[in-house]
Amino acid sequence: MFLQVLAQLTEGFYNTLLIFGVTLLVSLPLGLIVAFGSMSKILPIKVITRLFVWIIRGTPLMLQVISVFYLPGLLFYYPMRSRMTAVLVAFIINYAAYFSEIYRGGIESIPRGQYEAGKVLGLTKWQIFYHVILIQVIKRILAPISNEVITLVKDTSLARVIAITEIIMAAEIAVSRYAIVWPLFFTGVFYLLFSGLLTILFDKLEKRFDYIKV
């Protein structure tokens, strides 16, 4: 029985990691594009992007997961083939919206003088962004990004609303079926270790940028 439960938990563990990894991998760069959209000088792009960010940040992720899973089938007769795809799409959109606001805050916090210094030195817009602004932005957004990333670890549990067996659901099934409690502790320890590891990782990253004082 122990091995059987462990196998189930491992499967849940795998799904949790998958959601976490893919969401980060796609939403981190996608967020930057959304950030540029919400800072765009072209008004319609800016308005549409900000409306989008408002809707995504203003509604629960759980509702978004359910919507992405059911709406394509119900509205367009194009059902979602896989539950995992639906979860990933919802998570990526949600996190891209949050990341975009962090990026925007970071980019807008860089003093105008930095851009102007680049300009009077004859640098192009792209050179200014890449060689002057970017690394200062990265330094400034590391802390809020690490917050979001740790939240994402725990948000992965929402995947269960469309019956993806992530680790908590796997644990709950085992607990109710065999009347045992250790899977709950096992799950708790998993989350703690995971977020602990991320905390250490981000601390190290932040140290690497210590030489920049902005």
Partner: protein, 258 residues
């Protein structure tokens, strides 16, 4: 023919008139000090010259060539404007060094990116070192800006502007953000730059310095040129009432402090 000339610069921010018909000429190697109360348009004038702000109307010539005609120039491509900017250097009041680069890297960044070939790398580095030595910072080359005093940061900024060898080097209140005991070292460096082929415009509140370094002095009030002449003419024999009032007020302040 004048080396650098500005004709009829005008600039409004909304309904506020910031520059009203500014014209002047400079010879090569000349140092022009621009003085005047805060809000008189001095900084805006420098920013227009450096293409950081768009003049509403006016023309600018360098070495006889038309560089800017406010009616047409600003519709040129980003690239063309960037090229034109390279005729000028600007040292900011707040230094604006890049915090992620050492003093040496700050000075080297622009030539490195502009002249992209790797053969020049060594040459650029040597020149950057020479310039940092010239502003008295040989021993601070590998320090980051936050490890330097304000005066040292400003001297790095001067070296950073010098390396591109601009036709006209502008200073926007280069010592206003500094503690009084640090202004001297920066002013000394600026003074040492004066030479027969370096043309400089210095916006400053340091009257002693302006009088010492400037060939010509331009006093601005309410976006207009109130008085223009040699340093002695403006400081010793001002004609305009506004200039007299401005200079005597400064004298009072000094008197009170002593």
């Amino acid at each position: 023919m004048a080396f650098f000339e500005i004709q009829n610069f005008k600039k409004n921010f909304g309904t506020t008139e910031v520059l009203n018909d500014i014209s002047f000429r400079m010879e090569k190697g000349e140092v022009l000090a621009i003085i005047g109360a805060s809000g008189s348009g001095k900084t805006t004038l420098l920013r227009c010259i450096n293409f950081l702000e768009k003049a509403d109307c006016g023309r600018m010539f360098i070495d006889g060539k038309l560089l800017l005609d406010a009616q047409t120039t600003y519709s040129e491509s980003e690239e063309q404007l960037r090229q034109k900017r390279l005729h000028f250097g600007l040292v900011f009041q707040s230094f604006n060094l890049f915090p992620q680069y050492t003093a040496l890297q700050n000075v080297m960044l622009a030539p490195r990116l502009i002249y992209k070939s790797s053969e020049n790398e060594k040459e650029i580095e040597e020149q950057a070192k020479r310039l940092l030595a010239r502003v008295g910072l040989s021993d601070k080359m590998s320090n980051y800006p936050h490890e330097l005093s304000g005066g040292q940061q400003q001297r790095v900024a001067i070296a950073r502007a010098l390396i591109l060898n601009p036709d006209v080097l502008c200073f926007d209140e280069p010592t206003s953000a500094l503690d009084p005991e640090l202004t001297g070292e920066v002013l000394k460096v600026i003074k040492s730059l004066k030479s027969k082929d370096r043309t400089m415009i210095v916006v400053t509140h340091e009257m002693e310095f302006a009088r010492n370094i400037a060939d010509k002095v331009l006093f601005m009030a309410n976006g207009m040129i109130e008085e223009y002449g040699t340093a002695d003419e403006v400081f010793l024999f001002p004609r305009s009432e506004k200039t007299k009032a401005f200079l005597s007020k400064l004298g009072d302040v000094k008197g009170n402090e002593e």
